[in-house]
Structures are given as C-alpha cells and as structure tokens.
Symmetry: C2
C-alpha cells in the first residue's frame, strides 16, 4: 500500500472519505472546494455495494473494514463517512473501529435543515436502508424538527444510467419518477398535518438530480444537499489545522475502489466534477 504524503502530518491534514460506491464523490467535491490544500484518500467499497439493501450487521462490518483501510493504510487523520446508509447504520461501529474523529452526513444534514426551515417540518428522501433506520427522523427530532422520510430506490440507478438531463427523453422519465415519489411524499405530509418547507437530499447521488427535484417541489420548499452540509461541518472541525489560502500547494487526491475500477473511472467524473485520475484497486477480503 502507498504511504500517506510526507507533508501530511507537518502541514495539511489527510482526510479519509468513505462511501459504499462513488456517489460520495459529491461529498469529496464539496470538501475539496472548501479545503483545497488538504490531502484526500477516497475509498469506494464498490465490490460490496449497494449498502442500501443490506442489514445493519453487514453494513457495520463492511464500513469498519473500509474505515480501517483509510486510517491504517492511507494515514487518514479525520474520516468523513460520505454514505448516508453507513452514517445511518454504522457510525458507532466505525467510531469504535478507528482512533480518529469520524463525521457522518446525517447530523450535518439535519442541522442544515434546521437552519433552513421556518415551520419546523422537513422532508427527507434517501435509500431504503437509510429510511428504515429512521436516523434522519431521530437527528431532526433531537433538533426540535418534525421529519417525514421516503425511500426512493429508483433514483440511484437513474443517476448511474446518466438519465439526468431534463431536455432529453430519458431525463423526462427521471423527472416523472421524481414527481411520483415527491407527490407521494407531499400527500403523506399533508395527511400527517405537516407543513414542510425543507427537503433533505439524504443520498449522495441525489445532488445530480437537484434541478429535477427543485422543479418537483413548491418554490417554498428549500432543497438541502447533505454533501454541502457535511463539508461545512468538516471544515469547521479542521479549521485550526488548515493552511491559509495560498500558503500551501493543492493537496493530493487518491481514489481507491474494491472493485469495478473501470466503472468508477467512467462514472466518477459526473460526481466529482473533474476526472478522478487513476483509481487503485484494493482487496478488503469480502
């Protein structure tokens, strides 16, 4: 395994970013925008994705192994769990598995919703497993918000198929799927007596559908991107260790995957906003 960059401990921190796939590259993108001098090691556990349909026990084991790789093999001094499912179901298991600070996406997403909502009622869309964990509901309730969650299992495959452009026939299909899901959610909110004014994107794939999602909700509903929210929170945690802008060279970015390196390299740029470079294959033995 490659060593962390020599400058990591003396200058900029090395931040480990973990996802079950490559959707978490939207989080890495938000982190790089805010901390261009930090070093990043991103791991996509692509051999074992999607976590969204698996049990808590299985997800906890996979996530802990992945976190240990980033800390032990890549020298990460801070971990961002850029995977809503792992954050919802395995944050404790990850914190137990490694000796560095670990930040999930749920808590920052809930805090951003509180900042955006006047009514105190928020909607959350996510994968099956994230919704079944009720982690967003719990995090929102702890902040005095009422939350209603909905699983939208078709949105990840639609994003991965690239059907995201509203001006094409394929993007119009995706727009219909989004509208069906959000209409169902709005009807459930009305039935529950809620008056939601914020919608949390509880999956790292969903920022690529943001224009379609914003078109499918009333203008009074603010759309919250949990990738942006967790990047803000990470920057606050690390602020004391970050170099002033211009005081250091851009950090190194290394990407790893447990499988499907070709797919990672092909689809990754859609999420990261620029090429992901050479993705290294790692074997976590499962």
């Amino acid at each position: 395994m490659s060593s962390p960059p020599a400058s990591a401990s003396s200058h900029s921190p090395t931040i480990g970013v973990f996802d079950s796939g490559f959707g978490g590259l939207t989080v890495l993108r938000a982190l790089i925008e805010r901390m261009p001098h930090a070093h990043f090691a991103f791991l996509g556990d692509t051999a074992r994705l999607p976590y969204g349909s698996k049990s808590r026990r299985t997800i906890a084991r996979y996530a802990a192994e992945s976190a240990q790789f980033l800390v032990r093999e890549q020298g990460a001094e801070f971990l961002v769990i850029a995977c809503n499912t792992a954050s919802a179901l395995a944050l404790d298991a990850i914190q137990d598995a490694v000796p560095v600070p670990v930040l999930g996406v749920i808590e920052p997403g809930a805090q951003a919703a509180r900042a955006a909502s006047s009514s105190g009622d928020v909607l959350v869309i996510a994968t099956d497993a994230t919704v079944q964990s009720h982690a967003y509901t719990a995090a929102c309730q702890a902040l005095g918000l009422r939350a209603l969650e909905k699983a939208c299992p078709l949105l990840v495959p639609l994003v991965e198929e690239g059907w995201t452009d509203r001006s094409s026939a394929t993007g119009q299909v995706t727009a219909q799927v989004v509208q069906i899901y959000l209409d169902e959610l709005a009807a459930q909110a009305t039935a529950a007596g809620l008056h939601p004014d914020a919608l949390v994107l509880g999956c790292t794939h969903y920022p690529l559908l943001r224009p379609l999602i914003e078109a499918a909700v009333p203008a009074s509903v603010r759309v919250i991107d949990s990738a942006q929210a967790v990047a803000e929170a990470a920057m606050r945690s690390l602020r004391a260790r970050l170099m002033p802008a211009g005081a250091a060279s851009p950090g190194q970015i290394r990407c790893f995957a447990t499988d499907s390196v070709d797919k990672f390299e092909r689809l990754g740029p859609r999420f990261l906003g620029h090429p992901v470079g050479k993705v290294q294959l790692v074997d976590l033995g499962g």
Copy 2:
C-alpha cells in the same frame, strides 16, 4: 445446517438453485411446474447482490461459495444457476468447485432462441455484466445465430419497486423505460443490418415485465424467457430420475438467503407465484 430429506437419494432428486438475489425464483417456479416431486434448495446470495456490477473474479468466488453450500450443506445432486450474470461469468468456476452437474441459463436460452428464430438474428437484453461478458453472443454464434445484446440496468430496480402494472402511473413509467431501451436496440439492429425475430430475456427479473416487453416489440418478434428454457433443459437432464406424475408426494422446497431475509420473504412471492415460506439466513462469510 439441516440435512437433505431422507428420501432424496432413493426417490426424487434434490436440485440446488442459485441466484445472486431472488429473481431466480422465476426459474425455481418454472422448475417446480415441470418437476413437482423433486426437492429444491434455493439460495439467494442477497448479502452480496447485485452481481451485475461486479468483476468476473469477484462473481466467480461468490458463486463458487454459494454452489458449495448447496451441494455440501443441502445435498444438492444437480445445480441450476438461475442467475444470468453468474452463468455468463462463472459457470466454469462453479463446475470446478462442485462434483455435480451444473446447468446455467445462457445455453438453454440460446437454444430456445434458435428454435424460435427463422431469420437467425436475435436480440438479448440483460444486466451490464452479462452483456459485457458477451456470453449470449458466443452461445448464439455457436448455434449459427447472430445476436445483438443490450444492457438495461433500470429494469431490475423497477421490478423490485413493483412498478410493473401497465394500468398504473408507475407501470406507465416502466413501459416508457422499456420502450426507450428496446427502441435503441432496434435502431442498433437496423444499423447492423440485422432482421431480428426473437428477443431473449437474459435476466431472471424480466419475466415480470413480459407484458410490457411484448407490447414494445413488433408482433413478429418472439419473446424468449430463459427461465422457461433452463427449466426445460433441467427436466430433460433429470428425466430418468423423475417419478411418474402421481407416484410421489410433492417435493420439499427450502429457501436460503445470505442477508435481507425480510426483503426476500416480502418480494419473493412476486417471482415464485406463491409464498416462499420461512427463509433461512446463512453466512457464507463475505
């Protein structure tokens, strides 16, 4: 682990049926219809699905472990690989891993296409990994057919979401997705100078979309269900060992999954056509 039924070796055979998920229950259904007195052990490797996005190396390891469970732990004397991806990428690895006959879905599907096609040109729709393996193209070419394959990654999640009823708004979305995929495939066939008159459903989920698929192709195109084709082939292989109708009681059916037993029990009946009973959780250690 439970032992195979005592009568297995002396009377009806025990047939192991393997899939990465529970889509292979469409194959089990076709097998039970033809061999109601055989015993069946079905394993869905749900902890590690979908195989469709994984590499050949990973799929081969998972499939071999699953096959060994069915033979060693459940006493299967004949294996049906009810998973197009595993049949395409790992049939050799499975045959090397167990000492019993192993039948995949690709070869019977290609043979059914040859029987159905007059022009000798056939279309195949399947998952990404099955298409990338070109296993159907190779199997068709060996039978003197020209084949054109297309990956349709959205169809499995649409089936699992239950959006299959054409009379509903959700089913109409699925019908549009099917039409987009099949129009693209038809255009590619025309560009290649093909005159296809058969379409192979190269994924065990697709039989649940058969009415939508038949509506999206010209009436001159015969739709071939590889689940029916492999069940016919298994029955021919086992004919000498099968009891005459009425000579034995119905066989036992045992279902196992490596994860998501709840989801298996909830969605399985759509594929099997009746309740799947109690699904037992097994740990293959990955």
